[in-house]
Symmetry: C2
Subunit: 338 residues, 2 copies
């Protein structure tokens, strides 16, 4: 057993796991956005994806994403050894009911909107450790389930401040294996929980930016890289406000990532025409964008090396109502063309 730890919080895989297939499914609004043509499947106006409730719809998203990713990887579900799955809902019910039908061993995760980074990290550790030939990572979010979980009933028609993000209805899944495909995960940087004391749940970009800064800086230090060593450094859903804070915080540490930075939340909607304010968010935002738009560019070799850093705001309505702060976390994955 060779140690693969580098620096303080990163792993460089001795045998990097490969991404064999990935798929995405999103709601109608996301399908009408700038990335619309890249998604594998787009739902109808009602957001129900054939289900009876929004929660059931979100479960369908995970089921569809994993099924499509398996098909793209040329595998059937019996070959899948493990699934790492998560979502934003209490007790991660979207995942439980979404992947129940696969009859595959599963580990449930919660890392708020950073969960796709967590799922890809743990799936990579499993494949690289010899614990499974084929392992899936999947996360989802749904605008209507998230509003119900964290904010107000949709029927209230509450006003949203400009700092608020719009939870993406969508899911993305990746199948990892020991060989094949045109992209591999060469390393990860595990995030710490970072709490700057922000308490505004409608400005999650600000709550998550310090964690994104912490993880990105740790990655650059641990791997002895500069931002230029990445073609892109892509956060999950910081949005416009979070991005500005991230740039400022990283400059204080001596890193300028303005040229490399991209944020899935800022790409997925057109803020002028789609009324989504600071951008998209949710577990499904980073996951669907990764599967639809980031991975294909790495596979083609257009980007040689990307740092993918989904970011999460660790709050619940209970912690918020009890006046607690909103700590952040960011989980980073290094994805390279091969």
């Amino acid at each position: 057993m060779k140690k693969q730890t580098i620096g303080k919080q990163s792993i460089e895989f001795e045998r990097a796991p490969h991404i064999l297939g990935a798929a995405s499914i999103v709601g109608k609004k996301e399908g009408e956005g700038p990335l619309g043509k890249y998604f594998d499947k787009i739902g109808e106006e009602d957001g129900l994806f054939g289900g009876k409730s929004w929660e059931e719809a979100e479960s369908t998203l995970q089921k569809e994403a994993v099924s499509m990713a398996l098909a793209k990887a040329g595998l059937d579900q019996q070959q899948l050894r493990l699934i790492y799955a998560g979502d934003l809902l209490a007790q991660t019910i979207a995942s439980s009911f979404g992947i129940l039908g696969f009859h595959t061993p599963v580990y449930g995760l919660y890392g708020a909107c950073s969960t796709m980074g967590e799922a890809l990290s743990l799936a990579s550790m499993a494949v690289a450790g010899g614990y499974g030939d084929y392992v899936a990572a999947v996360t989802s979010s749904h605008f209507a389930t998230a509003e119900k979980e964290f904010r107000f009933p949709l029927g209230y028609g509450s006003q949203r401040p400009l700092s608020a993000t719009w939870t993406v209805t969508g899911s993305g899944a990746c199948i990892l294996g020991t060989e094949g495909g045109k992209a591999r995960i060469t390393g990860i940087t595990t995030g710490k929980i970072v709490d700057f004391g922000f308490k505004d749940s409608l400005n999650m970009g600000a709550c998550m930016a310090p964690a994104a800064c912490d993880t990105i800086a740790a990655n650059l230090v641990d791997f002895v890289r500069s931002p230029q060593d990445y073609d892109r450094i892509i956060t999950g859903d910081l949005g416009e406000i979070g991005q500005k804070i991230l740039f400022d915080l990283l400059k204080e540490k001596g890193f300028d990532i303005e040229k490399q930075h991209m944020d899935c939340g800022m790409e997925i909607f057109d803020k002028e025409t789609q009324d989504t304010h600071a951008g998209g968010s949710g577990c499904g935002c980073a996951a669907a964008t990764f599967a639809a738009c980031i991975l294909p560019r790495i596979q083609k070799g257009e980007w040689k090396r990307v740092l993918f850093v989904p970011t999460g705001a660790l709050l619940s309505k209970v912690s918020y109502n009890e006046g607690r702060s909103v700590p952040g976390i960011a989980q980073a994955v290094v994805v390279e063309h091969c």
Copy 2:
């Protein structure tokens, strides 16, 4: 990279991680139960552990458990590479706020009451894979936070059916490493989500028993063992009703575990005097019982090999109110004296 997978859903570690330290903390009621003298720390009547809310109290439980486990392992927190943490609350806030102060890279988990099995499994995979020298696994539950999260406000004084379990106020943490200590985790069996269609959230033993059966049977088949090869097969919190169902289901598969079986939920309270009905439950039940009573007997060599199988019921109040079933999951860990 040698493959360590065996059978359909198990891993046998080439280099089994060792358990270097473990600690437990529980509430006053648990301290008054049959296992009272084994816990490291016992709280006061108010259940607040010095906090201002029950959620804050539960976070304190995790913080204390990890701190004590680190001290017992002779480590300081800077040496800890990773923490795998989870709890029962929406968005696992007990974990987020509990481990925030350690400034350690973290992966958040949700597996309902099976989470300690999941945390020990993933921590083992990390250590055995060369991803960290010292890795922690911790979970918690709290009677008052759980009642608020899943059932009714405590002030209502709702009647509880005899099939109901009593959520344990407690936390248990283990520190894993590559060598040292008198116990090691030689293998794991990852659970599948099993849904028999039960819908009674006040009879969680029945909901979880099919999953426990599935994981235990898979473990016996994958490792080519019979129940006699274990000194004990210990489930998390099936309680009396779940235990009966487990025995019946396993007999249908040709396994009789009655002589080896123990259930943390049935050990932690005295049902005659403590009015806890079917037994204890919660993420903290299996975790605290493992740290306080199971691990020490393995360390002493009284038990040579134990199958520890925390069990979880995958429901939320939303899934319950929407009429969904309560699927179960069980995560198994093989712990041996060394």
